[in-house]
Symmetry: C2
Subunit: 316 residues, 2 copies
């Protein structure tokens, strides 16, 4: 281990510092506050755990490894960075359980009429509902993007006795998925998907992935959920699908644009449910992200390959 | 087959009548309207599919088999009926998937802050939440009552990577349940259950099953859900658990009393979510119940044992 290794720490947390000390006793830590006071120290940073923007990374000429604290790196990746010898790692895996919980929560809120139930409760009104419920049982679940998150979604879907089909680059099969499709035969995928759960990252290949033709291909009454990136769905095509009655509902944790302006028509469309980009948020998040970083730090110092390395060309 | 067999049909549905005709071409059907016009025909009814109350059953002296259309028979069972040679069958199995969807919908509405998200949406406000979310992952799920419904609950819990423990009469193990408890060691069960999903039927043995001692035994911050029968929980003890802060939340599809009067304190307690006894309602309900009845009708006419027979002593 090189005693001069400098680590930038976005979140300055005593417990995290202590754990880093156990793994790398001689590492030099630069906090966000220190970097603000001494911006020239950016040039010495070899490892960064979160918190650097594109411009800072451009100035971090000694940077070898950037551990991102979130799942998506689309805000970070520049052609310049992709060309540099910097390894980028993510914590995408820790979002899987949380996002699956969030998406099924949004879905069941709709299919079990829970918003109406809440409104009845606010009126202190005992109003048995059920006429507009929908069973998940037997429905075909279209898992759009099959990474760690998509796999967990499929697993939960199977427990609810749904039929998960998937779409991923390369079309490699997955034990939780009954039939796998690739971007090339996406219309066949959408034609079967009664409930779509989209967790695509945003890349050149996924921007506007669900457009006019894809919505048209969906079965009538389809439900579309998005917890990937807003811009993977063409908002105009989505609005048209909602207005025409083609879609039963859209349940969106991410939108395009984001934040969604107050005047945007999506806010008040019937059967649209919006949560403000927090599907991946959970109280244990930092502890789980730290565990991935610390594990990678051990590997880095030992010169071994890191986990959760981002493919800078693919963009995730 | 006896050409004189008379069947009372609570729901007069052309499709159901046609299917009955295929199974039993010569059966005589008495509809609800016909029975109203000719109440004396009650004495000829040998089979009833739903819709008879206690008084009518007492007068149905020729009754041999009562197929209930719901899961619970607590409103129906009298000591007189229990003593008579009348077979009672339920459709309890068809509630399993639906009730599991409802309970996890209620739970995730809470743990993912979806009510707050809906309110923010109503204000057209992009407000990322997440500070009060709770992961299901890793939590111990107390499945109170392990029949078809409890088993499906446990299965979904496992997909969310929860740890299902169960409580059932007789303590027989179940593949979806890690540890099984019996009513005798219920306090050990409650001591571990961070999230309780109660689907107990109402019997003499389950009335007030969750009382003062059981709430006291729960871990601090426990969440209690009830989709069984309201009176299996002592409402006073529940209110105390909510007021003291012992409970994080109560999510209730059934209450005691029911319907819940407008003045009842449960309506406006923080972290109480009430749905008005419709966890088992789903659009495909009648079709699934009819399939069970028709299957049983075939068996009955062939003199074979029926499916889903209610234990009149146990009460479910």
């Amino acid at each position: 281990m090189n005693a001069q290794t400098t680590l930038f720490l976005s979140r300055d947390d005593a417990e995290l510092r202590q754990k880093i000390g156990e793994v790398a006793p001689q590492i030099e830590i630069v906090s966000r506050a220190q970097l603000k006071d001494h911006p020239e120290r950016i040039e010495h940073i070899e490892i960064a755990y979160g918190g650097l923007g594109r411009d800072q990374i451009a100035n971090a000429t000694a940077l070898k490894w950037f551990q991102n604290g979130g799942a998506g790196v689309n805000g970070l990746l520049s052609p310049e960075l992709a060309a540099r010898d910097v390894t980028i790692t993510s914590v995408s895996g820790i979002h899987a359980r949380c996002i699956a919980e969030h998406l099924f929560g949004m879905l069941l809120s709709l299919t079990r009429e829970l918003h109406s139930a809440r409104e009845a409760q606010n009126r202190r009104e005992w109003k048995p509902l059920g006429a507009n419920t929908l069973s998940l049982y037997g429905k075909t679940l279209g898992v759009l993007g099959v990474g760690a998150i998509g796999a967990q979604i499929a697993r939960v879907g199977r427990a609810f006795e749904m039929k998960p089909i998937g779409l991923r680059r390369g079309r490699a099969g997955h034990p939780e998925i009954e039939t796998m499709f690739s971007p090339e035969n996406r219309l066949e995928f959408f034609a079967q998907a009664q409930i779509v759960m989209n967790t695509l990252p945003l890349t050149d290949a996924t921007r506007g992935f669900m457009g006019e033709a894809e919505f048209e291909a969906l079965p009538d009454g389809a439900i579309v959920l998005n917890a990937g990136r807003g811009a993977t769905i063409d908002t105009t095509a989505l609005l048209r699908g909602l207005q025409s009655g083609k879609l039963r509902a859209a349940l969106l944790d991410v939108t395009d644009p984001e934040p969604l302006p107050a005047a945007h028509p999506l806010w008040e469309m019937p059967n649209v449910f919006i949560t403000a980009h927090y599907a991946g948020a959970h109280p244990e998040y930092n502890a789980e992200a730290d565990a991935i970083f610390l594990d990678n730090l051990r590997l880095y110092l030992a010169g071994e390959p890191l986990h959760h390395v981002v493919d800078k060309t693919a963009g995730y």
